[in-house]
């Protein structure tokens, strides 16, 4: 079972490009019709230099371009089938737009047992920087591991 020794573990940084075609697929999937995400002129009128990404898209970019999107689970010997998403947080510091190239640097910042060890919460915090070195966001995910019952 995962324990405190996992805190501080880092994983392979992920570099992801915000590509318009992939973004459109995401927008279509969610039925998102807001012109700010689809039309450059609308985005510019709102003060962006290109179309911005929707609020949760950073999470997708990291998974799409990671060579192994479940690296942290494999590295910590956690079975994908036992994992649920517990919490998710985004702090936005600067715009992320079509054409940007982002770097994600994930790191384990917390491991907490719950319900007498029946589940473990793992927090992975991921600062995100863009191609200019600007710290654009912080992404924090908490996964819930449903631990096997002791037999």
């Amino acid at each position: 079972m995962i324990d405190q020794s996992a805190v501080g573990r880092t994983f392979t940084p992920v570099t992801a490009r915000v590509e318009p075609g992939r973004l459109r697929f995401f927008l279509d999937t969610l039925g998102e019709t807001n012109a700010i995400y689809r039309d450059e002129a609308t985005a510019q009128a709102a003060g962006f230099t290109a179309a911005p990404v929707p609020p949760t898209y950073l999470f997708c970019l990291e998974m799409m371009d990671a060579p192994d999107p479940f690296e942290f689970l494999t590295a910590l010997d956690i079975d994908l089938a036992r994992v649920l998403h517990g919490e998710q947080r985004f702090d936005y510091h600067a715009p992320v737009m079509v054409g940007d190239t982002l770097t994600f640097r994930p790191r384990v910042t917390g491991v907490t047992d719950k319900k007498g060890g029946a589940m473990t919460l793992i927090v992975v915090d991921t600062p995100v920087t863009n191609q200019h070195g600007v710290h654009v966001a912080d992404v924090s995910r908490t996964v819930v591991v449903r631990n096997a019952r002791p037999s």
Binding site: N34, P52, L80, R89, Y92
Partner: protein
């Protein structure tokens, strides 16, 4: 955001979404890069102890984000967080809402704190979250 400053208690976010289908989960699997089979492969889901596939939490948060930026310009969102309170089942018809809970000064600007919820057609809370927006 309009020029009008919201008041505590105002419901400024409200949007309803069509029922979650297997097709939508398959599309989201590809569009999001989250290829966890538990959301699209019923055999995998059953082996993991679930009766069927279920929605990606991030699909549901994606809907909540959409409801949020329908009401608040993306450039004004400072933070957005949720707790995934319950699994969202196939067929769920989701309603997203956001209520102003506090007006604050932070980082040298006037901001509002919103309490966000996503509920299904039975009123069960699926996501409970918060956003901080600049006014």
């Amino acid at each position: 955001m309009s020029a009008r400053v919201p008041s505590v208690g105002d419901i400024i976010v409200h949007k309803e979404f069509p029922p979650i289908t297997r097709h939508r989960l398959a599309l989201y699997c590809g569009a999001s890069g989250d290829h966890n089979p538990i959301h699209v492969d019923i055999d995998f889901a059953k082996a993991a102890g679930f009766p069927d596939v279920f929605a990606h939490g991030m699909l549901v948060m994606g809907y909540l984000g959409q409801a949020l930026t329908d009401a608040v310009a993306p450039s004004r969102i400072r933070s957005f967080s949720t707790r995934f309170a319950a699994i969202t089942q196939l067929g769920a018809k989701l309603t997203c809402e956001g209520t102003v809970t506090e007006l604050i000064e932070q980082g040298g600007e006037k901001r509002a704190k919103l309490a966000l919820t996503t509920r299904d057609q039975n009123g069960e809370v699926k996501l409970a979250g918060e956003a901080i927006i600049a006014l």
